[in-house]
Structures are given as structure tokens and as C-alpha cells.
Amino acid sequence: MSDWYRDLANSGVGAALTRRLGLPRPAVLRRYTPGDPLLPGPVVVVGTAGGRLADEVGAVLKEAGVTVLAADAAADAERLGAVVLDATGVSSPADLAVATTALAPAVKRLRSSGRVVVLADPATDAASPAQAATRQALDGLVRSLAKELRSGSTANLLLVPAGADASLAGPLRFFLSGRSAYVDGQVVTLSPAELPAAEAAERPLAGQVAVVTGAARGIGAAIARVLARDGAHVVAVDVPAAGQALAEVANEIGGTAFGLDITAGDAPARLVEHLRERHGGVDVVVHNAGITRDKLLVNMDAARWESVIAVNLQAQLDLTTALLAADGLLRPGARVVCVSSQSGIAGNRGQTNYAASKAGIIGMVRAWAPEFTARGATINAVAPGFIVTEMTAKMPMGTREIGSRINSLQQGGLPVDVAETIAWLAQPGSAGVNGQVVRVCGQSMLGA
């Protein structure tokens, strides 16, 4: 879908005009295509005394062939692809001075679609109030920096508890890469996990079977495409009535089409039977199907309320329960990713039913995480913000323009941005990301 304003703002005349008028200047985001280098420029790694993740970071950058520059390299040196701040050593507020002494000079040298990734310990694990305060302070630092950055650059915070150092590589790669184009101002907490020895960079899901609900169009179709690109065989699920579009998606990606209304009473049994008979098991499940039936609560009829809860929440609960109960069906290391929404975090006028369902998903994911950990599996939620789809294209121009601009990247996201985030969570290397809610919203001002 074209973003006329972004294109204008990036044209010769348009750029001058928008600058003169002080209008936002949304950038063309760096998005991933297979074969891309991890970063388009060198990296500066800054740290504080006592930081413990230098080796993990160095290994990721070395493996990806990224040049690492010294923090004090000449100011006219090549522009940076990313800055990584290892703040695992901070313990008192004075340690935060690293922000001006080391972080700021490097941030100045960031190129467009640059990345700032800050690594820290969770405040909840701190040994003293001062340490907790210092760690929590980083949260404010990162979220504010994300709002300052321009030209498609992002800043995110990865919390790495003691014992979870080995979980860092995959998430760090994601936040440095073009896959995280529209993920900005986010905090993700890692957990200790069994990590695979090595992962195929180009096809991390090779040989896996992935189910995607609501795959006939929109975000679901994008998820199916990206999972297939990453090597998975995709079982594309959608209501039987969407069968023609579903078949086209399945044929395009070499997957299979499975017509199923996920709210049908026998849907869990049919999905289990289908997966067992045709694939013997399943590695990745993406609960993406969702509907909206907007009305102010006072005008809401039971049917609107119930249909939204049934599709967006109850079906995810029922299908996941059935998959967990089906002996051996969820393969070891399985990944479940549930699509929530910004509305479920921030609320949205006229969407009590929808926001309730999407907030419910967050509760569900967090509650299920320990059971998934015990199986060596993970369950996470992705909460998209304003994503440009056929659905949003139908919104009135004004609402659409405002909706798409009120975020740090000053533009709507694309379905592929949600899909890339989900595909990352599905990777074997994301074993240490569990029970998390990752927003794909360009750091939306709503519910931030």
C-alpha cells in the first residue's frame, strides 16, 4: 500500500516543503530481504564498568561480519549502522552518565534506519533500591531516545537476567536487523533457555510445520509468506468462505489451505486431526485470525460482543488447549504466537469488546508461559499498532492519516513488519523469549 505522504516528504520538493513547514518527515524504513547484511554500517559497542555481555555481543557481530568501531573513532568516520550499550554493569545513578559520555556521541553518528539496543538487567532482580532505580532509569532513557531518533532509527531495551546471557544472540540480531523495522521503544525481558547450537541464518524454520489462522489476507497472509520464506511448511487456515484467497496464498508459498472456522465447536478436534494425519505434528502456531465489531458499549448488542470474544480470545484458548492436550502433537521447542493489539493495551473508544479480547490475550500468554517453558516451548504475543491493510484503507482519510502518524516513526506499519516479528519469535534462537508482549507499533503514542 502506498504512503503518499511519506513519498512526498522524501521527494526533492516535498522534503524542502515539509522541512519549511515543520511537518513530520517519515523515512523509508530499512526492511529485511534475504541475503541482506545484518547491518548496513559498522557498530559501536559502549559499556560501563562491570558489564558482562561484551562477549555475547561481540560473537553476534563477528558471526554477522559487522565491523565494530572503537567508541572514540574519528567523528568523520563512516556513519554507524547501530550502537549497542551494555548497561549490565550499572548500579548507581551516577553510572547513567554513560548516556552523555559515550552513547550520545555514537547516536549522533547513526545513519538512517539506525539501531540503538540497550542491554540491562531487570530492575526486579536488583540487589538494592539504588540499583533498581538505576536499571529502571534505563527504561525512561530508551523510550525517550526512541522518540528523539529520526530517519527510521529505533531504540529498544533488552533485559537480560542473570543466567539468560545465552538467550541474547537471537533477540539482539532481530533488533539490529531490518526485521524489526517497525518495533521501536520496546522492552523485552529474556529468560534462561536451552538454545540450539547453530541456526540456519537464511532458513531458520526449515523442515518445520507452521499453522497460521486468518491467513487468507492482510497480516495473516504476510505471516504465512514470511514463515514460508524462512523455510516452514505453512498450513494456512481461514474460514471456508475465504477459500479462494486462501488457496491462492497457499499456492504462492507452497503451503496447504485448510478451511476452518476457528470458532466452530469441533474446530480444535479438526485442527488436531488434520495436523496429526497430514504432518504428524506442529512446530509453530500463529493465532492471527481476528475481527472487529465496533460500537460504543452502551449501544453494543450481545452478538457483537460475543462474536469478537469468540474469534479473538476463546478460539485461541480452545485451540491452544487442544494442541497442548494432544499427545506429542506440539513438537519440542514449539512456538505459539498470539496476535493481540495496541487497543488491548491502550484501549480504544468504541472497541470495548475488541480491546477486552486483545487484553485477554496478554493475560493468557503470561499465564501459559511457565507451562510452555517446562516443555521447552514458548508462547508470546505481538501487539500491532496502526498497520496499513485493506481494513485501514477503508478508514476515513483523516482518521487514517492521524492514526498512521502518531508514532515515533511517523508512519503506519506494514503487515510484513508484524510478520517479521512473529517469524523471529518462531525461530529456534528465540527460545529465551517467553511470555512477552512485543508491540509492533513504531512506538505509538497510544498506551505507551
Binding site: H233, P240, A257, R278, H279
Partner: protein, 428 residues
């Protein structure tokens, strides 16, 4: 020489598009469009992208001359491997089932391990032919070597030749519409209006219930905005049908209406078959096996038999060969060309005189349990795009038998123009 070992072909699944009423939802779709899309739906369901199946066999009853290689062209336009061979068949309304039998036989003989059988028809995009006089002139023009000869040939055109030949649903040898033939048979067998309407209501109700319980979720792929058969009337009732005036037959005895006869329809269907080994190697289910099949033809021109009565003759041959009686089946699928056709056929099988004199049997084949007949609806409700009906029935019956469990047996009976009929046995 030892006799070749044979194996029973497995029916793995099927796909069809919803059937549309003539000149409606699929008015702009050609046979090739519909068959290609139907193949693609099957490919998507079973993950056959880029794969080569042994053979694709399909056909259409109403065909444009450009469709001379219809099935192969559809394969080339589909997601199947371009290295998949294909050929066309045509046996009027028997086309789809005959195609299944042909593929199954090659699988049985080990000549192919898998195959797709099907059929398609459009009565909306039916070929308009120039009439024979005009065609002769145009051929002469084409053959002319000089401009003068060409002009001379063209001057032979007369206004009367400019009227196109519109295809009619009529028998070439009798000039009678198929419905008129059926009406004659209905009169011979004294088939009443009420029992025809009852069968029709049941067809609509059974088809609607099958849709409602999701039966077609893995048998059908929506097309051009249609998600169900356009002819389906879930609220069909005796009262509503009683209001329709007869369209075939004459006078008092006329019983056949637009309700209890199938309408002209557009659509396509395909069935995936394979050996058990092929199915297992591809992690695909086996719904049923094709046990055996038989065709027959009757002399409806001079022999005094009804145009659509050939299945009545094919059945005893099939039963005898397989050591079965008519009652040895768990399900029956008798194609509802007209309600009266189904009822005439059933009545004939119950009739001692007919079974003795016409079929050469010792006694009647007897009645069937009507609750086992067309349980998921049939052509009266779904519609009948001629060549697509066989595939619809085979895939549906295979799934119904599979749902009942192993060892269940089903009978298919399809009548066809030209006084022909095809019957077949499936077993889960």
C-alpha cells in the same frame, strides 16, 4: 503370461467450486478458467504445488473448438508441474465418473501412481457455432487463392446464413429435449408429482444441512464470490414446489417442473486418486477405494427404452461381478438429473417384470433404504454442470463412507445423454 496384479485405486480427496446458475455468477468464466481454478484449489488443499501427478483426465460436454486440449491447457495454467500429462474425455453427464474410472484403472494396473479426474461445464459461455451453410462459404473464402476468387466466394453469403447455431439440450436423434425424454419415462413408470417434489425437498434440505455442518469445508473452494451452490434453497418445501407449473410433458399427466428438474448450471469438480503407497508417501488420507465400475447403453431411439434408463441396465452386471445385492450398500448416490429419473430407476429395480424381461434376472433387485439415498444432497439442489457432477459425487461419497468408518460400501449411478449410464462401487 501371468495375469497382471492389480491394486485398488484410493480416493484421497476432491475439490469443486460452488455450482452457479446459468448466466449468473460465472457468466464471464470459461471452462478453462473454472477447471484451472478447481485444480488450484485441489493443489492448495493437498500441497501439490510443482508436483507431477501421473495424469489429469477431465472433460466438458459443451466445448468451444479452442478447448480442444482443455485439460492439458488447464494443467499448464495451474500450479501443478507442467510435466503432468493430461487428456480430455467426454461421455455426456457420465464424463466426470468415467474420468475417475479411467484414472483408477491406470492406477490399478500400475501404469500411474496418482492422478486427478474431473470435469467442467458452462452453459453461460457455451460455444455459438456458425450454421453449416455459412461455414461452407467461409471455408471456400479461406481456400480461395486470389482476391477475385475470395470476393466471389463471399458473394455467396445470404442473410439467412448469418443466424448462429445455438446449442440445445436436445438429443440429436430425436430432437427432443432431455426433459421431454424424462417425462416420457416418468409417464411409463407412473411417477407422481408429489414423490418427485418430496425427493427434491429432501435434496435441498440434505445439501443445506451438509453445508451447515461444514461437510463441504474440505471438498469445495469458493469461486468468484460464491461460497455455496447458487441453486440451493434451504427453505424449499412441498408447498413452494407445488406452486410451480410443469415444464416437461403435456396436459394432465405433466409432473416435471423447474423445481424437480435440474437447472442449467456452471461449475467444475476434480478428484485426487492414487495408490495406497502414493497416498502414504505423501501423508495423505485414503477416504475410500474405487472397487469397480460398469457402463451400459440403451436404444432409446428405436428400442423403446427411456433415454436415461441405462444405469438400470449397468447395475446388475456390476452387482453380479462383485457378488453383491442392491441392498448390500451403506449409501447410494443416484444422480438427480430429474427427480423422476431417480424414481423411475428405483421403481424399475423393484419391478419383477422389468428385472426379468429387460435385465434377464430371476427376480427384482428390490427396494433400497431411502434414508441412505443422496444423504448430502444431489443435483436437484446443487445443480448439474454436466461433466462436473461425477467428481462432485465421487468425492462426497468417499468422504461420507470414510466418516462411517472402514468397510462401508457406496453405490453411484449416473445417467447420461445418448442413452448411456455409468455405475460404480466405492468402499471405505
Amino acid at each position: 503370461m501371468t495375469a497382471p496384479r492389480t491394486r485398488k485405486a484410493a480416493i484421497i480427496g476432491g475439490n469443486r467450486i460452488p455450482f452457479a446458475r446459468s448466466n449468473s455468477a460465472y457468466a464471464q468464466a470459461s471452462n478453462q478458467d473454472m477447471l484451472t481454478s478447481t485444480l488450484d484449489g485441489l493443489v492448495a488443499r493437498f500441497g501439490l504445488q510443482g508436483q507431477q501427478v501421473g495424469e489429469v483426465v477431465a472433460g466438458a460436454v459443451l466445448k468451444h473448438s479452442r478447448d480442444f486440449n482443455l485439460t492439458r491447457e488447464s494443467v499448464l495454467g495451474s500450479r501443478l508441474s507442467a510435466a503432468t500429462p493430461a487428456y480430455d474425455v467426454q461421455q455426456a453427464c457420465g464424463t466426470g465418473l468415467e474420468a475417475v474410472v479411467l484414472v483408477a484403472n491406470k492406477i490399478a494396473l500400475g501404469q500411474v501412481d496418482s492422478g486427478i479426474a474431473g470435469g467442467v461445464d458452462t452453459t453461460s459461455d457455451a460455444p455459438l457455432a456458425v450454421n453449416d451453410d455459412l461455414r461452407r462459404v467461409l471455408v471456400q473464402v479461406n481456400a480461395a487463392k486470389t482476391l477475385q476468387q475470395r470476393l466471389k466466394a463471399l458473394s455467396g453469403i445470404r442473410p439467412g446464413q448469418l443466424v448462429p447455431d445455438i446449442p440445445r439440450n436436445a438429443e440429436p436423434r430425436t430432437g427432443l429435449a432431455m426433459g421431454e425424454h424424462a417425462a416420457i419415462t416418468a409417464a411409463v413408470w407412473e411417477i407422481g408429482r408429489e414423490e418427485q417434489d418430496e425427493l427434491t425437498v429432501r435434496s435441498h434440505h440434505n445439501l443445506a444441512a451438509a453445508y451447515d455442518r461444514g461437510f463441504f469445508d474440505d471438498l469445495l473452494t469458493p469461486y468468484l464470490g460464491l461460497t455455496r451452490d447458487q441453486n440451493l434453497r434451504p427453505d424449499s418445501s412441498m408447498e413452494k414446489l407445488a406452486r410451480l407449473s410443469p415444464v416437461f410433458g403435456r396436459g394432465e399427466g405433466a409432473t416435471m417442473t423447474a423445481g424437480n428438474s435440474t437447472p442449467l448450471t456452471d461449475g467444475a469438480s476434480v478428484v485426487l486418486l492414487g495408490s495406497d503407497e502414493w497416498a502414504a508417501a505423501h501423508d495423505l488420507p485414503v477416504l475410500a477405494h474405487l472397487v469397480d465400475a460398469q457402463t451400459a447403453a440403451v436404444d432409446y431411439v428405436h428400442g423403446g427404452e427411456g433415454l436415461l434408463m441405462a444405469p438400470a441396465y449397468a447395475l446388475p452386471v456390476l452387482l453380479a461381478r462383485n457378488g453383491l445385492t442392491l441392498q448390500d450398500f451403506d449409501l447410494y448416490e443416484i444422480h438427480e438429473a430429474f427427480a423422476s429419473t431417480v424414481l423411475s430407476t428405483l421403481k424399475a429395480w423393484e419391478d419383477p417384470a422389468f428385472c426379468k424381461e429387460k435385465l434377464g434376472l430371476d427376480g427384482p433387485l428390490g427396494p433400497i433404504d431411502r434414508s441412505k439415498l443422496n444423504v448430502a444432497g444431489s443435483s436437484l439442489a446443487a445443480g448439474h454442470p454436466f461433466a462436473a457432477t461425477g467428481g462432485r459425487i465421487v468425492a462426497s461419497l468417499a468422504k461420507l463412507l470414510h466418516q462411517q468408518g472402514p468397510g462401508r460400501r457406496g453405490l453411484i449411478s449416473i445417467c447420461a445423454a445418448g442413452g448411456q449410464g455409468v455405475v460404480a462401487i466405492l468402499e471405505s
